[in-house]
Amino acid sequence: MVTFPHAARRHALAWAWLIAAGCTTVRLVSDYDETTDRDVSALQKLVDDSLTALARQSAPACLFAAHRQFYTAVHSALNALAMRNRARGAGNAATTDQIAVLDTVEFAALEHLHRLAGARTPAVCMDSVGLALDRQAIDQSFEAILRLELAKKRGG
């Protein structure tokens, strides 16, 4: 049986590691997804248009009952985005979590606020300043999601 001297074996292992390291490209985050980019942008526009209209309305047009469909549509769209990004694997965990926050934290709170305003006696529209702050925060979340998605292009 042929054996190699200890020093020669160490050199061979070092070269093998260097060669292996030189051949691989590390991927810690998933690739850019055009569908996510497009769908998040479209949803942000829908939300922006709807909340702009809401801010201009007076009772009873501004009350929750007249906007129930909006919340259903938003939840449905975010659900679809979440499912797509979960299916894209662990490298996409940040985007999946962001979508979940937007859905179950931010829009859930906005819907609750809308219901509360309508439940007052007499029913009132949501506070205009409060709604403006909510819109700003929701826009920040949309931008955060898009910023990360675009960064996944990696300069490409």
């Binding site: 030189g22 691989t24 590390v26 937007l102 934290v105 300043v129």
Partner: protein
Amino acid sequence: MLSAALAVLEKKTPVIRAYAEGEFKKIAQAIVTIEALAAAGRITPEEAALHMQIQRGASRTVLMTAKGLGVLDAEAAINAALDAVRTAVNAALPFKLV
């Protein structure tokens, strides 16, 4: 190898910091306004808590993006270091191996 990685990180970290700082400044101002609305009686304590929940949500998504950008930068730094190894391996040999 190390200098290739550090060059990437030094270039990109200030961008992430500037983004996060700008976003958190807006959120901090929003929180002050919510407190003022509650103090003025324009919104109830329950409503104030819900507005705060939305601001906290935005904080979380911004932080997740900052973290994600950091991971992408770490990835770029690692790959820059691996590229340097590839160059060194090919330079050390009389033929192009990788």
